[in-house]
Symmetry: D2
Subunit: 302 residues, 4 copies
């Protein structure tokens, strides 16, 4: 299973403080385990990618690699120098026979938009043609790889009036996200596919962020997703990081597949089948996704 991470802050954070230095960062977990001579660890070693924005209303920058994140010198060096207020990061474990190639590394970008996915679309090959047939020409031709995740991004882009716009409202982005999930469900149903789909998506225009935690079942939980907010994400000692809550303001929001710190109370679970929005003004909004897979009953973990 892949892992992903979203950061939004009023002030820029050094990538290293988010990605490589924290003892429980998505990238450093492996290294710590190594130090402990405990060789069981997360592997997500089939490539990684980071995306970040320098300026609002400009496109972000992406750095990807098919090499594992933990030994990547370029990543370590860039992370020690680059600061950003808006960061996406993704470590990848291939599912099925998908090739390890840079074209298949998250995140992807199109204009000012950036996208990543944790999970998979069950039965994707059977709806691949439908997806491609639905796309406007320039979106269809922008697809470089073969993954379900990149195709889901294409579906998202196709719901927008103008995906090359400089700026979006969070409502536009949230609506396009909901349409994307609805369309994927519709196509899967048309083909009679009942495979499990895990749709934890993350999307940003550099200012607003829309994430989902979604599963096409009403009886089980989706892939984990957490968020944490506060006034600062900073290092304590021994590589431990904390979300500081110095005042009422929320100047930092982090969304992650797994908590980045050992303080579990800092982290809130995003409920299954929810869309989570972080607006450009740092408002954190949650909406249940109401469709046939919605339920108010307890779901089972797996």
């Amino acid at each position: 299973m892949c892992r992903m991470l979203v950061f939004k802050g009023e002030s820029p954070i050094l990538l290293a403080d988010l990605l490589t230095r924290p003892a429980h960062s998505i990238i450093m977990q492996s290294v710590n385990c190594k130090l402990l001579l405990d060789w069981r660890r997360n592997t997500n070693g089939d490539g990684f990618g980071i995306g970040w924005y320098d300026e609002p209303q400009e496109s972000g920058c992406i750095f990807t690699s098919t090499l594992p994140a933990w030994g990547n010198l370029n990543l370590q060096r860039l992370a020690e120098k680059i600061k950003s207020k808006q960061i996406f990061a993704h470590v990848r474990a291939t599912t099925g026979g998908t090739a390890t190639s840079e074209s298949n590394c998250h995140p992807w970008q199109f204009g000012n938009l950036m996208w990543m996915h944790n999970g998979m679309i069950g039965g994707f090959p059977k709806i691949k043609r439908k997806i491609q047939a639905s796309l406007k020409e320039e979106i269809y031709l922008s697809i470089q790889g073969t993954t379900d995740s990149e195709h889901a991004f294409a579906v998202f882009l196709n719901q927008l009036d103008d995906p090359m716009k400089k700026s979006f409202t969070y409502t536009e982005l949230k609506d396009a996200m909901l349409k994307t999930i609805a369309l994927l469900n519709q196509w899967l149903e048309e083909e009679g596919i009942e495979d499990l789909s895990l749709l934890n998506f993350a999307l940003t225009d550099g200012e607003n962020i829309v994430c989902t935690r979604y599963v096409n079942r009403s009886d089980r939980e989706g892939t984990s997703l957490f968020f944490s907010s506060g006034s600062k994400f900073q290092s304590e000692e021994n590589g431990q990081y904390r979300m500081i809550k110095a005042n009422k303001r929320e100047d930092v929001v982090v969304v992650a597949s797994e908590p980045l710190t050992y303080e579990r109370t800092d982290w809130l679970v995003v409920p299954t089948n929810t869309v989570l929005v972080i607006t450009s003004k740092f408002n954190v909004l949650q909406y249940p996704i109401i469709d046939k897979h919605h339920t108010t009953k307890k779901r089972s973990t797996f």
Copy 2:
């Protein structure tokens, strides 16, 4: 421009004797130029691939890399150990914005068939949907990359009754090749595309070989293609290799974008818009491709 090479012999040849040792091999040209301190040389440095067969009626093996061929230690080591009677090799220079990824390295294989391409389909993006729409499901889903060359292979496979068969006649393969070129031309015309297409394809089932030299113009030459045959391809001195013609038998046939030896008389030009067949019995057959781009007049080189 890419380069490609096809070898077929009665006896196995060490890959090194074809690929890395000859002074004018497709891979070693660069190294020689380096030694001469002449830094102008062929670059084809965007990856390479080799394919070879051990046994008739079994699938071949492929080794590809996005690193330049000339500095690839694995290639050098494998080439010193592996022998084969049937070899494909390709060095790649990307055209346009196609990503350098292993999925985009020639040759590709499907069952026992192997394919490579030197050239490009002009206006490919505009007929990509038509190509994909024409394909049987398992062929459509087998596409891993984004190149025109791999899509042309898919069109070829789609013309065969059963591309997973163990064995083919050369006529089947030649006919499917001609249909492939005809279909590509038809789709390009339907879209009103007049861009230049250079279709030097090479296809084998491990026993028969079908190559083309083709251009969609009647007034100019296609990308270069040569062949040479004899009783043995062997080293002389100083890294020079020769095609030995010891008797009337043709035990070795080589097809290449450029002559591999300095003895130009050893090499025959394949005429533009021709399909060249080397049968499993070592018969070398040439057929003109008769369509609207056929001509008996002199074509211009470019």
Copy 3:
């Protein structure tokens, strides 16, 4: 921690039957775990290498990569085609700050000899100059990387009269191995280094094999090492493999950091501080390494 594997058979085995197909092979463990959605697994994702011999008294062939073994298409394709009677395989997890580079991937070769290492030389940087100073010129200059493991190989080569010989007796090789360990210990002591060293080495000339399980402590176990022998290593069902013991003859010997099959009774533990020899005639010999770290008391695991 790295893992390594040594195979010697009377008949050649397809690399895939040893490396990629077994459910518990050193390479496939990760994939299985993935299927189980259990993302805790062995990672050894910092590159791998395989070495094999075609002919006795010829040098072997090596294929290495800095990409994780599990997603490597070239490895999968080569493994389905290459057969050998004598195979080395190694998956690597970097320790400390050593770069992930092909020069740092096991195994290494020199003439007909091949070497790999599971473990580390504690305090290696402090004896690096001493090691280099002890080496004959051509051995010193043959070092391409920066690892302790490659330097240990250089020390081993330096103990041989002529490391470029075609053929060796197992006694020569065993003696050179013991001298290597003794010298490393001596240099570490001269520098007052008391760090833990784990010296599981594997060495072959293509016919004889010498392995060690060694730690520079008398109170603890070394890194795990097992071996298994029988008449055939073959697949049962569901990716399960078994060591078949059809008769008294030992036609197959496997040495591995971890058992490759779930049948624990097939696997014998190599005692800590032992040198294990498999002769060209398939005799399996074990000798305790008698030095100050030898003990007959129980050692602690860690």
Copy 4:
């Protein structure tokens, strides 16, 4: 032959304006040639590296790759976002059998210092031990690769009182550079080596720059080196760039193996056996290197 490039400006330049966009940039030359269907071009395809500084008196950042620069998506994306006042860039062609590995990509850094080299030390293997023996421990252990260029950097570092200092005078750096060349010459002479050495080095502390153009012959020219200065390096049209000289001030200095623009009058030749200094105040100083290879007679080009 490699190529290198040094930029120093009063204002930051976007890396793309120096490295990827100019029609004759060290990286884009290949692409242009490709468009012209002229496949003879510079190849330097065995990796590349860029180094840049954000802040004075801080260490720089380095991005290297063993893939050719021209197809590297990460390079293209980073170059479109990163700005710097102080930039090093290097494209590499391996000489001899040196492996293509990230450890062997220029530039290297140590503390705030950064180093690259265009050329080679003739007979390097024969003085490698002498070089290593001369080094302080922390410098010796910092060597990650096997190249002559990285070892020359180590010799340079060894001439400084404290290579980890934050700030240096240009005189310190120039003197250490001259001692480095003198020592290399001395060791080569002691070993009776008369091979050609081409020592075009570039060194910076982030503020001062010291470059050399040097050959250990008095009768021939060294590898080419040019510089250009002005008030701005900016784009005209069609990918053409110009060095603008709007006023007397020199706000931009570029040093390069080859001119980056087609305006040859913008570029001055650095004479063979010269050390070129660009001070933190943008003074450009040249000093002849006076030793036995110095001459006032005409040297031959080669």
